[in-house]
């Protein structure tokens, strides 16, 4: 019998500068799939409405905000087309982002038992939390298409650009989620920060108001918030609206930097997780 050459694995003290092992991450892709599969499967078990919650959640917030800001606040005047559609189109990437960040941030601590018993690349845990939100996003997107039909807004060829903005939103959510996940392991306070940080973040993103309400000279600074360009870009590609290229560029770059920095920090501290979790 011919044995395949044995692989040798060396375990030693972590070096001061850790690098992300992409090959290992790839080797564990099936586990990522199983984590996502588990999260999706468990999320809607023993619920009556099941996956409908993926639509109901952004829809109810949309109508609450449409009533509050659109009718009472007079925001509807600043928007071309139906205000509710404007909000829902922005609420879609935002809901995905906010849910993904919240789930990812708590994912490591929630999997503490797993982390102290089995080895796998720890990055899979927040990544799975983020990926499991994509199904909800897809379902809600169908809801958006229905809403567009109701309001008589026809989709245009620009919708082909939507996946790019979704990808950007995933990157931004992954960056924020991974960073918070690693921080929460050491500083549990961060959990409490996340809730109100996301509330403020919503108002710092063009979800309830159109991008052009921000004065032009502040707009690039505003675009440092990755969700600014991504929400505006997603909405523009699906239902129309302003989406200046410079804003989108700055936001995308910001999302990319955030993701890289978060992964960098994560791999730097992940060897410690089992000792402090």
């Amino acid at each position: 019998m011919v044995d395949p050459p044995r692989r040798t694995l060396r375990l030693e003290a972590p070096r001061s500068w850790q690098t992300l092992n992409l090959a290992e991450l790839w080797a564990y892709r099936e586990l990522l799939f199983f984590f996502v599969w588990r999260d999706v499967k468990v999320r809607y078990k023993q619920t009556v409405l099941g996956a409908l919650w993926a639509i109901i959640q952004p829809l109810t917030t949309t109508f609450a905000f449409a009533l509050l800001f659109g009718r009472l606040g007079g925001m509807a005047r600043h928007v071309d087309g139906p205000y509710a559609l404007h909000v829902f189109a922005g609420m879609l990437p935002w809901t995905f982002f906010a849910n993904a960040v919240t789930l990812a941030a708590n994912s490591l601590v929630g999997s503490g038992h797993l982390i102290s018993k089995v080895y796998f690349p720890r990055l899979l845990v927040p990544l799975a939390a983020i990926a499991s939100g994509l199904l909800d996003f897809a379902i809600a997107f169908v809801g958006l298409l229905v809403m567009m039909a109701v309001y008589g807004v026809a989709p245009s060829a620009s919708m082909l650009a939507a996946p790019l903005f979704v990808a950007g939103t995933i990157a931004a959510a992954a960056g924020t989620g991974i960073l918070f996940a690693a921080l929460v392991v050491t500083f549990r306070d961060v959990r409490y920060i996340i809730t109100f940080a996301l509330q403020l973040w919503l108002f710092a993103s063009p979800v309830l108001y159109p991008l052009d309400m921000i004065p032009a000279r502040w707009r690039l600074l505003y675009a440092v918030n990755p969700m600014a360009g991504l929400v505006a870009g997603f909405r523009a590609s699906v239902v129309g609206g302003p989406a200046p290229a410079d804003v989108i560029l700055v936001s995308s770059a910001s999302a990319a930097v955030l993701l890289l920095a978060a992964v960098r920090y994560f791999v730097q501290v992940e060897r410690r997780f089992a000792d402090v979790i």
């Binding site: 044995r6 692989r7 040798t8 694995l9 060396r10 375990l11 030693e12 003290a13 972590p14 099936e30 586990l31 199983f34 599969w37 588990r38 499967k41 468990v42 078990k45 023993q46 038992h113 797993l114 982390i115 102290s116 018993k117 089995v118 080895y119 796998f120 050491t186 500083f187 060897r271 410690r272 089992a274 000792d275 402090v276």
Partner: protein, 419 residues
Amino acid sequence: MSSDAIDIHGLGKRYAIGATPIGRTTLGESLTDWVTGPWRRFRELSRPGERAAQFWALKEVTLKIAVGEVVGIIGPNGAGKSTLLKILSRITAPTEGYVDLHGRVSSLLEVGTGFHPDLTGRENIFLNGAILGMFRAEIVRKLDAIVAFAELEQFIDTPVKHYSSGMYVRLAFSVAAHLEPEILIIDEVLSVGDLHFRNKCLGRMQDLRSEGRTVLFVSHDLTSVRQLCSRAVMLQHGRIVDDGPPGEVTRRYERLYHDAAGNSSGAADRLHPPHTYHLRRVELRTMRGEIASQFDAGDVMEIHLWSSGRAPENSYTVEFKLLNSDDEVISFGAANPVQTTYYPADAEHFVCRLGPLPLTEGSYAFSFTVGVWNKERWDFWQKAVRFTIGRCDPFGTGHGISNVNDGDFVIPQEWLTGN
């Protein structure tokens, strides 16, 4: 290429002991702490181990394990066994030294890691299998075998939250038993499940051994270390203190720990013996010569006793009194006059072969006396050693008889119909 499967070199692991300030005395101090505390705690959390007290859980551990060896790691609590396992399983990183693992490693620090109560048995097999490092295709291929091994064919599509704990453990162990690693690292997982299933698991371990796989096995159960392992390593205070054939190492371990702690290992050394002639050590052994603290009804036991040296005179006796779990004397035996053995002054090691034991399930103890019958008592060692009867079913009915309700003895009996 070396034929080592695991090569551990100078391994050390340092932990910081959580040193939190306690005993605030004044309101002023509490207020100061309320203001400066967050900053101090922030610094402590961001740099663990810098200011807190340090503790080496493992230090300078060097060990080579050849391919095909089954090595048992034993040691008292806090000796560093779990830390060693965690490093080998890549859960935590060493502080110094290194480990080279040659081959595919599976580590089982518990069974059923990652089981989700809301998922069905089948779904959990996939999830748990993936967590343990199996590929989807591999799990699909082994699914039927896993279900059959767990004997859960009927319930495989039921959420595991409805399982009994026995079913849960069976399913979890079945997944683990179908791993095919070159190196297997396991932690006490054999101590689960009922007797029937435990035997099945032991069988599986024997298979692994005969397939030439390398196994590292951490256990408190010295009997399984003796049964399964080809080598035993004893850890103490984070260092290797003994390494050799499992029989010898576990014996030395028993002498070192169980005895001193007065623990029921089936052997004991006298902690505070009188200065004059006395009994110093006792061992309860099975007929195979192993020290044991658990016997079954019907077993024959050997009591081995050692004295401190030369006895004051010739022709003396050694006696035992058997006590039940309420410390009542329930039986008695003696070298003489019950038997006709008169020990000479230079005898230092006494053996009593006792049984078959007619005792019911429960805990018992021996007290020993040495002296001249009806004349002199040189030493009385009260409750020297404890043992338990694990199973009492003399008539093979499947119903154990316990000393809680049914007395301490079972007398041989026959039941007939009279006229």
